[in-house]
Point group: C2
Chain length 268, copies 2
């Protein structure tokens, strides 16, 4: 007796479609991992695989088959679906027969592990999921201790965040606060030096002190860091703009700042 | 007697639609600037405005009207179109009545102005127009002397390149070569130190010499820098990857390298 065969009208399939379309009430709790690359990554990161949907007709390699076997062992529930059903469930072209519903890991404000020279980034109002994904990818590469979201305008479980981050939504610790005041309190209690990324009236990012705990705040694509930060007397650091544009892409500026901080902390 | 009124079936309108759809033979020679922000930028950069399409019904501010007047003076030809026609021509939601066909500026390999400590970036096989656009935006901000494309997989005139670059497609000097060998020759003749961005077997990007002429080569989103570069014995520089991912987004890694080079050249 193998896994249950289900069709396009089954509630479990409908649930996946609702998550994909962002209409599910549970859209913040789950990430859809599509295909070999993404599902294998979820296994390697030991993420919790809630449901595994398997379309054997679409599996064309022993490598993918081995991943399917592993998913079946790891998943709480496994379902068999037809090629046609899988093609409806998958957002990517040419699905390879594997799709998993993965639980989004959760961190609480008190569960983040911090050291003497911790590095965190605060994403204030980032709007484009592609930018948030790219930022998470850099967060992993620079060993950021947490990504903190405030004035959130896109969801962490968005497929573009997952893809852009190369799956690091499942690995980089992330938190969300409703208001800037709450983030500032969290940072102050923990002794962070806070730097607001802003090209106006700012100190060159290469001349500030990164020796203790460092928090870098980056803002919305159009409006930048919100006023609530400035009202608290926090300092702005700037990346020089030597041409005609007055700002960089937000994930680029965050990355330049995070690499400078990491290099200085680790004395490269 | 004002500008000619033309409708949806007019050849000039059809030409714009063909450029937008990437089916025009002239799609590499022109950029479509849509709306106040983009058309004003084209004017400020003194780009050549070939055609200006004006839908007066959609113009709702004196600022936009002033821009329309300036476009009419600057453009070789001006056409009046209806609201309905403009909505068909524009790719963006909610057009504001202005759309211009702008000539893509051209640079030749010998026309690029170089100094003793010039900085250039080579984009080898970049695929996504959003990444190329973001890279151009950083090129402007770091005062890169030229962006050189090889193994080109997206077109410089793509609307996503224009938008992602904040219009810097019209400002940052760019060249295209068919083969890596041609670029290497161009760089060698001009005495450039060439660094290939690659995280494997590479020297930390903070410990190389940026004092003379510097060329940074970044590769395709999936495959990286092509083998032809390595066959010429060129050096790889790497940005440390301290987590699970083995690379950064290509426009991010280029930006981290370009800022390091610029900061070291300008002694920040």
């Amino acid at each position: 007796m193998g896994p249950q065969h289900i069709g396009i009208g089954h509630p479990e399939v409908k649930d996946v479609l609702a998550i994909q379309r962002n209409t599910s009430a549970e859209r913040h709790s789950f990430v859809i991992a599509e295909g070999f690359w993404a599902t294998r990554l979820a296994l390697r990161l030991e993420a919790r695989i809630e449901k595994f949907f398997h379309a054997p007709e679409l599996v064309h390699s022993t490598e993918v088959q081995a991943c399917a076997d592993e998913l079946e062992r790891a998943a709480r529930d496994t379902y068999r679906v037809s090629e046609k059903t899988m093609k409806r469930m998958a957002q990517r072209e040419g699905p390879d027969g594997l799709l998993a519903v993965v639980a989004m890991p959760r961190w609480s404000p008190d569960s983040i592990q911090l050291g003497e020279s911790s590095l965190v980034v605060i994403a204030d109002g980032i709007e484009k999921p592609g930018n948030l994904g790219t930022l998470l990818r850099t967060c992993d590469a620079t060993r950021v201790d947490a990504l903190v979201m405030v004035n959130r305008r896109t969801r962490m479980s968005h497929p573009k965040v997952f893809n852009g981050s190369k799956g690091m939504t499942l690995k980089v610790p992330h938190l969300e606060f409703a208001q800037v005041a709450d983030v500032v309190e969290w940072l102050k209690e923990r002794g962070f030096d806070v730097y607001l990324a802003d090209t106006h009236d700012s100190v060159n990012y290469r001349s500030v002190d990164y020796s203790g705990r460092t928090a870098i705040v980056v803002g919305n694509e159009r409006y930048g860091v919100s006023n609530a930060w400035y009202e608290r007397g926090l300092r702005a650091v700037g990346i020089p703009m030597l041409g005609a544009v007055d700002s960089l892409n937000v994930s680029v500026s965050a990355s330049v700042l995070l690499y400078e901080a990491r290099a200085r902390k680790d004395r490269w």
